[in-house]
Each structure stands twice: as C-alpha cells, then as structure tokens.
C-alpha cells in the first residue's frame, strides 16, 4: 500500500506518446518531480511525495519508456526536448503555471533545458546526483562499448545494447547494484530492480541513444542561462555518475552544493529524510 495516493491522475498524449502523471496536494509552490532514465519511473519519488504533498502541490510523471507511459521504439522520441516538452504538457494538464523542479540523475538535462528555455515556468531547480556529463565518466565505466558485441561482458561492459536484448534482467541487477553503494540497501535495490523490469532492453536502448548528442559544451550553454535559484546534491559514493559531475554543475550554475558524504546515486531513496528536508528548505526559500 502506498503512503499516499494521488488526488488526481491522468494520461496525456503528445505526438502519439502517452504520458501518465499524478498530482498530490494543493500547497504553493508546486513541485515537479522529473523522471530520470527510463529504467525507473515516478515511483522513484515514493519517499518524497507524501511529505512534500503536505506542504506543496506535487506533480510527477512516468518518463516516456517507463511505468504507465508509452514505450516508443524510435530513439528520436527520447530527446531532451521531448522530455522537456512532456514536463510542460504535464504541468499544463495538472494546472500548474510554474514549479520548483526536482530531478535526479539524467533528469538534470531536462531540468536544465526547462530552466534555460522556459524560465517563466520554473521557480527553482534541485539537482540530485545529476548526470550533467560535465566531467569524464567514472574510470570503471570506460570499458563501456554500447554497440559492440562483447563476449561474456562483465561489469560496465554489460551496458550494451546487444547484451540487453538477451540479458536485460542481469543488466538491471548490475546497474541497480551500482546505484546503491550504501550498505544495507536491499529494499532500495529490490524496488529499483522491480521498476527496471517493468520496461525492457529495447526501450532502454532507444532511450539511451538519445543521449548521444549530449556533451559538456551543451550542458554548459544551458547552465549559463539558468537564472532561477538552484541546489545541487551529490553523493560522494555515487558509482554511476561521479561526485565531480555534481561539483561541476554547482560550479557552472553558481548553485550551492550539498555534499552527501557516503551516499550513492539515488539518495532520495536511500536517505529520504535528509533529502526531503533539503527540498522543503529550498522550496520554502523560493516561496517567499
């Protein structure tokens, strides 16, 4: 059973893609919890929603390729612009003019785009473990070859389109293990694994290819246009995106960086209390 159920939920269709969204509470300002990579869906925010919804209007949606949203096969459907446009469409559908954005991991690029291109819709932006792509990947990820056929891939080599076709569950198990480096994370690992298995390797591969056009320069251009208050938090034990990525994003946006010592890639699931308090504190300051 959930701690809190949505006050309303809906399905919107944009360019033939269905996007499932939920709305909770009616406080001000609104908080839009953005999707991350399609491996997880909006339940990634389950530890935030009940708390934040007591204070704010909370809106979240399943990113295309995940949860109750469609799973387009065409990689072009997963562009940053597509996700950002989904977010705006969800805000419209939920009756939200402007919101504080909260993103995790890959959601950072969509948040940055919304901040830069739709400043009137964004009150502030919280980045959790951002995949800002501002620094080189972690050393252990340099073995990744996404389109090569690799015999018996291990570790990050399993981040591979061919492998996902046949061994998608194994990859999910590996990847989720890297998301939660904190000891005693069995429940978080089970949750994220379950969400990952709700989608499939082909869909995830399509979503991943959309990333190929992203680079540090593009991120920097967007970050330079960010004018709203922002906050970055990043775990020092993040084994998916390095802590240095969060540092770099904080530095090029001028946002304060909250260092989460000992935390991994998804602190909003593993350290929900502290993350909740930080989001609340941030939104309270935006609210004045």
């Amino acid at each position: 059973m959930r701690a809190r159920y949505p006050d309303s939920e809906g399905l919107l269709v944009r360019d033939g893609v269905e996007i499932r969204y939920e709305r909770y509470g009616d406080g001000w300002p609104a908080i839009l919890l953005l999707p991350a990579w399609s491996l997880v869906h909006s339940r990634q925010w389950k530890m935030q929603v009940p708390y934040l919804a007591r204070h704010f209007t909370v809106v979240c949606f399943d990113g295309r390729g995940s949860g109750g949203s469609s799973r387009p096969a065409d990689p072009s459907a997963y562009s940053d612009v597509a996700f950002a446009s989904d977010a705006l469409a969800v805000m419209d559908a939920a009756g939200i003019d402007s919101a504080v954005l909260v993103s995790a991991s890959r959601g950072a690029s969509w948040a940055l785009r919304l901040c830069a291109e739709h400043p009137d819709r964004v009150l502030g932006s919280v980045f959790i473990g951002p995949s800002a792509l501002l620094v080189p990947p972690l050393a252990e990820r340099r073995v990744q070859r996404f389109d090569e056929v690799i015999d018996e891939p291990v570790g990050w080599q399993t981040y591979n389109a061919h492998y996902w076709k046949t061994h998608y569950p194994e990859f999910v198990t590996f990847f989720v293990g890297r998301m939660f480096t904190e000891p005693h994370s069995t429940k978080q690992i089970e949750d994220a694994t379950g969400w990952g298995l709700e989608t499939d390797g082909e869909t995830l591969a399509a979503a991943d290819r959309a990333l190929e056009g992203s680079d540090a320069a593009a991120t920097r251009r967007l970050a330079a246009r960010l004018a709203c208050p922002a906050l970055v938090m990043h775990g020092t034990q993040d084994a998916v995106r390095s802590y240095a990525d969060g540092e770099a994003l904080a530095s090029c946006t001028g946002a304060p960086l909250v260092t989460l010592e000992g935390a991994g890639h998804f602190p909003h699931l593993r350290d929900p209390v502290h993350v909740n308090l930080l989001i609340k504190q941030f939104a309270d300051r935006v609210r004045r």
Partner: protein
C-alpha cells in the same frame, strides 16, 4: 563585561537632540533594533546582539530620552514623527539603505510608521509584544491610564502609572520596580529584573512623563489603517503572559499583516531578555527568509558513514580545568580509539590544548571571552564569583549560540561540558535544541551566599539553585550523565537554601562520582629528590613557590607575600622564593631581592609545586588539590566573596587535612613570614588523593557511546 563591543558608537543630532546608536558587524541585511525608549535602551538587546552581529549588520539605538541619548523634557519632542525621523537618521548614519526592524512594545508603532511611510527603507518587521491599539488594552491598565494626570495620594499597583506619583520622591523607582515585576512572570528572572530596572533608572521621571504625554500612539481605527498600509513581511512575537500588552494585540497585528505570529507560551513582556535563544533564532530565521538568503554549500554525512565524534567544552573560568579535561580525553581515547575529539574552547584553555596537540574547533574564535570578564570582575584579592557569573549572562548566551550552531553544522555523538554553564543552562531552557549524548562535569554543586550578602544574596543563590533543580527534575534527559569530580564526602554539608534539599543527598541522586582528577600523577616519595635536582633546587634550600594562576587577580596577594619575604628570609636564611605572576601581571613591577625570583610563566609549574617545601596560593581547587596530591605544605588565600573557594574548596581541603587556610584581609606580612618559617619543609599527613579519577570519568563517559 559585554560579550561584544560595538564597531561604531556614535550619535546623530536632530534639532539639537542627540540620539545614540551603535553598529555591530557587517553582514546582510541590516537589522535595526528599536527599544521601547526611554523606559529602556539599547542594552535591552544584549542577549541577541552578539549572535545576530555574526550574521547581519546590527544597529541599535538608545532612543531619545535615555542611555547615551539626550533627555528632552518637552512632550512634543517625543512625537512619533520625531522618533521616526531619529530612526531614519540612525539608518542613514549607519549606512543602511534598508533594514529589518525589530521593535518592542510601544516602539512597534514607530516601526509601523517607518514601514508604511518609507517602504524602501524597511525590508521587514519583527514586532515583539506590540503596543498597537488593534485590540483593547488590558483591563487593569484602563482606569489607571484614564487617571494618569489626576493627583493621587499613595497609589498602588498599576495606579502608580501617574505623572504626579512619578514626581514624588522615590515614586518613579517604585513604579518601575512594580512594573518590571509584572513584566517578568517567568520564575527565576532575577537578573532580567535587575537589568531592566537598572536601565529604566538610566532615565528620569521628567523624560518618562514627556514621552508618555507626547507619544501620540495611533488610536483604534487609525492603528488598523496603519497596519494595513504596511507591505513588508511582518513577524509578531508575543508572550502569552504579557501583562503590558494583551496577546490579542499581537494576534490582530499578525492578522492584518500576513499571519506570521509566534506566541511564546509562558513568556511575559520581555522575551528577548528572558528567552534570548528562541527570540534570536526567530529573528534570524525571519531575516533569512525575507531577504532570501540562499542555501549554502554543506556536507551531510550519512549516519553510518560518520566517525564517532565528541565535542569537548572546557570552562576557562576556573583556569584549572584544561589539564584535567586533557587527562579525561586521553583516557577516553584509550577506551574508544576511534573517537574523534574536537574542542570548543577559548584562551587560556586553548594554550594547554595547543601544547597537547588537541584539535580546536575553528568556531572557537567566535567565543566571547569568559576569562577576561572574570578578570574584569575582580578587584584586589576579591572576586564575587556568583555575581560575576550572573553578570556573564550575555557572554553565556552568545557562546551558547556559537555552540548550538556548531552542533547544527557538524555532527557530534557526544558533548562533554566541564562546567560548560552555557550549554547546561540554555539546553534546559530550550530543550528542543539538545542533540547528542550530553555529559556534564563539575567539581562543585550549589551556589552558596556570602554572609555579608545578607538576605538578598541568600535569596538569589537559593533561586539559582531552585532553577537548576527544577531544570533537572523537568528535563532529566538533558544531562545523560552528570559527573562530580570528587567524592560524596567532598560535598559541603549545606542545603541549596530555603526548603531545597541537602546538597550532598541531591548530588548523590543525580551524579556519578569520578573521584578527584588531578590531570597528572604526582611523583612518588623517591622521585621527589631527583625531580627537585632536575628543576634546579638544592637540598639545603627551602623552596617556597608562590603562584596565583593565570588571571590578573593575583597582584594583591603577591604584594603581600613579597613584603613578607625579607622577614621570612631573616628567620630562615635558606629560604628561596619563586613567584609566578601569570601572563597578566608584570614581573618587573616587584622589588628585587636576593633569593627572590619573580617569573611571568614557568613551564610545568605543577612539577615545581610537587617538589617545593611550601607553596602560597589562592584558594582555587586545581592548584590546592595538586599540592594535596603531592603532599606539600601550603598556605591558601581564598579570594574574597568567592563562594566556591571559601566554602566548597575549603571544605574539601579540610577533609583531606590539607593546607593552611588564610584570610587575606586579616593577614599581614609578619603572619605570612611566621607561617613560612613554621611550615616550610615540614612533613604533612594528608588523606590520599586518588590517581584514577580521569580513568573513572572516562569510563562513565564511554558507557554512553
């Protein structure tokens, strides 16, 4: 001594009237603290200023009619337009384009006028117990106020608020004493009462009458309209037991200005004096919010990723705690090698800690000096330490706020406070702020009155003891462990005063005993001679060490002992006297004599004390117990009016059969010389002092983590 001195203390002059202001700090935004002058002045904010000034630019003003300001006696001089013009002039002179106003009681209408008429100058307003006629006054003030100008005979209570009575001999004082008695309904408010009465007596009845008649506060209807004109954020604080301004006024003001009301339940009319911690935090939070202070970079460490850490606070007042605390810390590390210990400490404790390689928390630099205050309180061979502690109130709250900020920024499992009065007091007053396991150490329990303080002092010490007992009874979870540095027999056979319990019984119920903690192991009998040689003392000389600790209080005693030296030397030619003045007394100020050596500082003084033939010292516990442990004969002179040295220490030394207690006032150089010749080098039979006190204390602490 003040906890923080102003960076600027100046006056503005308008139409010939000088209005004093002070500026502290240089952060953003500026806060203008507006007292309800002239019945009080800028010092009424003393519990808030040091803390606020670390973050913001704080501007205080005395207001016309009191403090360092002029005291015009014409009512028109106190019209709201005049006062608000003063406040604008103060903001101009202080260089503050815009400020958050913090106003109390009848200063709130002035602040409302400023906010309504000069919105560009006012970023926000904190209204404390506002005297704004948006709700009816207290019924008990209506009739007296109606008869304000009527001749009265011998009025009582609120009827003393009468212009004729204030002009009678002693009338104004009588009114003031009644009024502030009403305004501090919180138990144990003696210090706040003395302060506020004192500030009220800094003005005179004529200025007070002129202000009251010229005040022209907006009447009902106008007051509502004024409130509605205010556009900036307003926060209202109101004591639920405010007998000057009904809480309904605060509530209505909040309704008219944005609904930010904090009712301080159980508080009276002076929460900024009586509950400075809470009020400071509410003001800080408000200022941060309205000025949009952005969040700042921080590190939060996951619970299981944190090393075990302790924050050790060592009181600098007694000057002797540092060594025992280092000894406890060392023992604690033996038991818990993984425990990191930071020290929040100030000079002179930091000198000892630095020498030991201990880690001093950088926030220590924000601590207001307690030892300088104590030195400033001393005169001759006299230190009224109970009153000195009471007058240290603003330093204690300033230092508590530093401590609390450290705890909220960093994570500590354990707080160890060796007579950390600030933490112990303000955590009991603000129990919601406690975090971590808390260890309280002390070597005495119970304030005792000096006989010449009479009934008043006995009342005060009893009241302070009662507050402490109530604190512990109500919040037994604030002190996770209380350690008495000593044994139950060391505790005076006295009560806490009045109907309060016997000190020893109560202490046994609420404390664990560690035994005495010397901080060093005294030499065995067979080690004395080699150490003596090593320190440069011959067998055939009588070595007399005179030491007065690190404060400047010792000059008078040294003078007397130095005067005794020629007499003693004549009677005992083998006498060699070593005088240690401490850093605050100039050794060159004393006459030179053969066999008399005067030093500012001696490294490892305790070693010299351990091998001397006689010591002459003050009545502080640390030094006298070092001598007791080392079995040296000694004369000790308790400081005048120092209840701890005169009662607690003396009782303990008597139990050990140690030392010759001397009365400074009645002792002349002849008597000192006689004692020197009689006692120097004589064997003693003291009770043994345990050497495992630090280890026992460390075990008691280690059980908590």
């Amino acid at each position: 001594m003040r906890a923080r001195l102003p960076d600027r203390a100046e006056v503005v002059r308008r139409d010939g009237v000088r209005v004093a202001f002070e500026v502290f700090g240089d952060g953003e935004p500026a806060l203008l603290l507006i007292p309800a002058s002239p019945i009080t002045h800028a010092r009424s904010w003393k519990g808030l200023v040091p803390t606020l000034a670390r973050r913001f630019t704080v501007v205080t003003t005395d207001g016309r009619g009191t403090g360092r300001s002029d005291r015009p006696h014409a009512p028109e001089c106190y019209a709201p337009a005049e006062v608000t013009a003063d406040l604008l002039a103060v903001l101009d002179a202080a260089g503050a384009d815009q400020a958050v106003l913090v106003a109390h009681c009848h200063a709130v209408p002035w602040a409302l006028y400023l906010a309504a008429d000069h919105p560009e100058r006012v970023a926000g307003l904190v209204a404390i117990d506002p005297a704004v006629a948006v709700a009816p006054p207290h019924p008990h003030t209506v009739e007296p106020d109606r008869r304000w100008a009527d001749p009265v005979g011998a009025p009582a209570g609120w009827s003393m608020r009468n212009r004729h009575f204030w002009r009678q001999d002693g009338g104004y004082r009588e009114w003031i004493e009644f009024f502030f008695g009403q305004q501090l309904p919180e138990p144990h408010s003696t210090k706040q009462y003395e302060d506020t009465v004192g500030w009220a007596l800094d003005t005179d009845a004529e200025a007070m009458i002129a202000e009251r008649e010229g005040r022209a506060a907006p009447p009902e209807g106008e007051a509502e309209a004024l409130c509605r004109r205010v556009r900036c954020p307003v926060r209202v604080l109101h004591g639920s037991d405010d007998r000057c301004q009904p809480v309904a006024r605060g509530r209505r003001l909040a309704e008219l200005t944005g609904d930010d009301l904090v009712v301080l339940e159980g508080a009276g009319h002076l929460p900024h004096g009586r509950d400075p911690v809470k009020v400071t935090r509410l003001i800080t939070e408000f200022a941060d919010r309205i000025t949009g202070a952005s969040m700042h970079a921080t590190t939060w460490t996951r619970g299981l990723s944190r090393p075990a850490r302790a924050l050790y606070l060592s009181s600098p007042i007694g000057l002797g705690h540092a060594r025992r605390d280092v000894a406890v810390a060392k023992e604690l590390r033996r038991l818990r090698p993984d425990l990191e210990i930071d020290w929040l400490a100030q000079h002179p404790v930091t000198a000892v800690l630095d020498a030991e390689g201990e880690h001093i928390h950088p926030a220590s630099r924000w601590l207001a000096s307690e030892s300088a205050h104590v030195a400033a309180e001393a005169a001759g061979h006299d230190l009224h330490c109970f009153q000195a502690l009471r007058r240290m109130d603003e330093i204690l709250v300033a230092n508590f706020m530093v401590f609390q900020e450290v705890l909220e920024e960093d994570c500590y499992d354990l707080i160890i406070g060796d007579e950390a009065w600030d933490v112990d007091y303000y955590w009991h007053e603000n129990p919601e702020l406690k975090r971590g396991q808390n260890v309280w150490l002390t070597d005495f329990v119970g304030y005792l009155p000096m006989p010449d303080g009479g009934d008043r002092e006995a009342f005060l010490t009893t009241d302070y003891n009662a507050e402490m007992i109530e604190h512990i009874d109500r919040y037994p979870w604030i002190r996770d462990r209380a350690i008495f540095v000593g044994n139950d027999e060391d505790i005076v056979p006295e009560t806490f005063g009045g109907d309060l319990p016997a000190i020893r019984d109560w202490t046994t119920r609420h404390f664990s005993y560690s035994g005495y903690i010397t901080g060093f192991t005294p030499p065995e009998p067979d080690e004395v001679a080699p150490l003596r040689t090593q320190l440069g003392y011959r067998d055939d000389e009588l070595v007399c060490v005179v030491a007065v600790g690190g404060s400047g209080v010792g000059q008078a005693l040294i003078d007397k002992v130095v005067a005794a030296y020629p007499l003693a030397k004549k009677a005992a030619p083998e006498l060699r006297m070593i005088v240690v003045t401490g850093p605050r007394i100039d050794p060159a100020a004393f006459p030179q004599r053969a066999g008399l050596e005067i030093h500012g500082y001696i490294d490892r003084l305790y070693q010299h004390l351990c091998v001397c033939d006689l010591a002459i010292v003050q009545g502080g516990l640390t030094t006298t117990m070092e001598l007791t442990a080392a079995r040296r004969p000694f004369l000790y002179f308790p400081l005048g009016h120092h209840f701890e040295q005169n009662f607690h220490v003396r009782y303990r030394l008597d139990r050990y059969g140690a030392g010759q207690c001397m009365d400074y006032a009645t002792t002349d150089p002849d008597l000192i010389a006689t004692h020197i010749t009689e006692l120097a080098g004589q064997p003693v039979s003291y009770r043994d002092v345990e050497t495992d006190g630090a280890a026992r204390a460390a075990r008691l602490i280690a059980e908590l983590i």
